[in-house]
C-alpha cells in the first residue's frame, strides 16, 4: 500500500512541478505547432491532391503520437540529472522500491505529456482538422498507452547510457530516425526492405500506427493510412512496456549503485 502511495506522490509531484513552471508550460506547446501547422499544411497544399487522403490529418495523428511518446521519454531521461538536484535526491534514498519510483516517474511524465496532447488537439481543431467527439474519446486510452510506452522506452535508453551528457548527445540520434521510420509526416506503406526492417524495430512506429488505427476506424482512408491492425499494435506495445520497464529499471538501478 505504501508503495502505491509513493508512486502516486512521485507522479503528483511531477505534475505540480510542471503546472507551476510557466516557461516550461508555454515552450512545450510551440514545437508540435510547427510540425502540424507548417509541415502538415505545406504537405497538404502540395501533395494532398495526389495522395487521396488529407495530409493535415495524417500529420496531426503522427505528431500527436510522436509528441506524447517523446515527451514522456525525455522526462525520464532527465532522471540522471535530477537525482543530484532538488527533491529527486530524497526520492532515491527513501525506503521504497526502485520499480515504484520509476513507475511513478513514468506516470508523472505521462500526465505532463498528456497536457501537451490536449494542446495539440486544440491547435488541430483551430487550423481545421476535423475531429469528432468519438475520435477524441477513443484517442484518450491510446494516448495514455503511448505515454507509458514512451516513458518505458526512456528508462531502457537511460539505463544503457552512462551519463546525462551521453544521454543528451545520443538521444536525438535515437529519436530523429524514428520520426521518419514511424511515418509521422511521410507515408511508409511501401519501403525498401532494409528500411522496412528498421521501421519494424522502431518503437514509435507502433504508437503512431495505433493512433491511426483508432482515429481512422471505419473511414475510407483506413487501408491507405494504417499499417497493422489494432490487436497487433496493442500486443507489441504491451510487450515493449513490460520488457522496457522491468529491464530498464533493473539495469538503471544496478548502474547507479555500481559506479
Amino acid at each position: 500500500m505504501s508503495e502505491l502511495n509513493a508512486t502516486l506522490t512521485i507522479a503528483y509531484r511531477d505534475t505540480l512541478k510542471f503546472l507551476r513552471d510557466r516557461a516550461r508550460l508555454v515552450s512545450t506547446f510551440v514545437f508540435p505547432f510547427i510540425f502540424i501547422g507548417i509541415v502538415g499544411g505545406s504537405l497538404q497544399a502540395n501533395l494532398g491532391e495526389g495522395a487521396g487522403y488529407n495530409f493535415l490529418t495524417f500529420t496531426f495523428t503522427g505528431v500527436l503520437a510522436m509528441t506524447l511518446f517523446q515527451s514522456s521519454a525525455m522526462g525520464i531521461i532527465s532522471l540522471i540529472e535530477d537525482r543530484e538536484n532538488d527533491f529527486s535526491q530524497e526520492i532515491f534514498v527513501s525506503p521504497i522500491s526502485r520499480y515504484s519510483i520509476i513507475l511513478g516517474k513514468i506516470l508523472g511524465e505521462s500526465i505532463v505529456a498528456l497536457a501537451q496532447g490536449i494542446g495539440i488537439v486544440g491547435f488541430a481543431l483551430i487550423i481545421g482538422v476535423s475531429i469528432s467527439a468519438t475520435q477524441i474519446a477513443v484517442l484518450v486510452p491510446v494516448a495514455i498507452a503511448t505515454c507509458l510506452v514512451g516513458g518505458a522506452f526512456g528508462i531502457i535508453v537511460l539505463s544503457n547510457l552512462g551519463s546525462q551528457r551521453a544521454a543528451q548527445q545520443i538521444f536525438p540520434f535515437i529519436m530523429l530516425p524514428q520520426y521518419f521510420l514511424s511515418g509521422i509526416f511521410n507515408p511508409i506503406q511501401v519501403l525498401p526492405f532494409y528500411m522496412d526492417v528498421l521501421s519494424r524495430v522502431s518503437p514509435m512506429r507502433y504508437a503512431v500506427d495505433l493512433t491511426r488505427d483508432v482515429f481512422y476506424a471505419g473511414q475510407a482512408e483506413y487501408s491507405q493510412v494504417v499499417l497493422n491492425g489494432l490487436p497487433h499494435n496493442v500486443a507489441v506495445m504491451f510487450a515493449m512496456f513490460i520488457s522496457f520497464f522491468v529491464g530498464g529499471t533493473f539495469l538503471f538501478v544496478r548502474g547507479e549503485r555500481n559506479r
Binding site: 502511495n5 512521485i10 527533491f87 526520492i91
Partner: protein, 311 residues
Amino acid sequence: MPPVIEVDRLTKRYKRADSNAVDGVSFSVQAGEFFALLGPNGAGKTTTVSILTTTLSPTSGSARIAGYDIVKNAGAVRKRVSIIFQRPSLDLNLTAEENVRFHAILYGLYPFRPTFKSMPRAYQQEVQRLAELLGLERDVFRPVKTFSGGMQRKLEILRGLVHRPQVLFLDEPTAGLDAATRRSLWAYLKEVRAESGTTVFLTTHYLEEAEGADKICIIDHGRIVSLGTPDEVKAALIEEYLVIDAEDRATLFIELRRLGVPFTGGAEIRIGLNGRSVHQVLQSVTTPLSVVKIHSPTLEDAYLAILRDHE
C-alpha cells in the same frame, strides 16, 4: 548496547579509477553520539555517506546501521536514516508543506492525498508543530523559493526528522551559507539533537564544525588519519615541545646529553615533551637559560598540517 553504526574495512573503488576513494575504513558510532567525519575535499567523505545511505555499493568490507546490513537489508536501513545532502533537496516551486508531505508519504507515514486539507489530522498537527518550531506560521503554504538559504536548510533538517530516523546524516550542510547563518544553523542543530536524541553523522571540511562533536574521524585519501574524542585526536596529532636556549650553548648540550634528554639543535633547541613534564626538564638543567618557551599547537594547526600534506 551495540553501536548504531558499525563500519568494517569499508572500501570503494570507482569504475575506471586507479585508487580507492575509501580505503579500508573501520569505525563505530554509539547511539545518540555526534560523530564528525572530517577531511579535505576529495578525501572520501561523500563516498562514505553514499555507501552508508545505500545509494552506492561498496567494493569490499561491510557496514551495519541499527543492526541492519547496508547491502543485504538496504530497505530497512533506508527507513532508519535520513540524509541532508550538500545540494538543497527541496522543490523550490512547491510549498514547504508540500515538500514535507511528499517526504512523509514516501516514508510510509501517511497515505497519499492531493491537498493539505485532505490529509489526516495527525499530519496537519505535525506540520503546525514544525511551522512553529521554524517560526514560519502561514509561510509553510508559500513556495520554498521565497525562503532564505538558512531557512531552507532548517526546513530540510526538520523534514528529515519527520520519520524519526535513528541516524541523521549531514553531508557538508553549511556549504554556501554565510557565517551568521552557519552559526544559527549549528545552534538549531544542537536544539534538535537535544530534543530528538538522534545520532548525528556530520561530514565537513571545517574543523570548527567538528570540534563540538563527541567523536571525530579525520580521513584523507580514503584512509583514517585519526579517530577519537576531540581531546584524543588532539593528543595523537599534536606534538608539544619545549624551546630553550642558553648563552653558553656548549655547556647546555653537554648537560642535556648527560641527563639523557633527547633534543634537536639549530636556530633553537627543541625538547620533545612526549610524556615528560616541563617542570621535570627545567628542574634538572643547571646551565643558566636565556630562553624558555612551550610550543603547544592547536588542533587547527594539526589539521592544517594534514591539509598541507594533501596538496
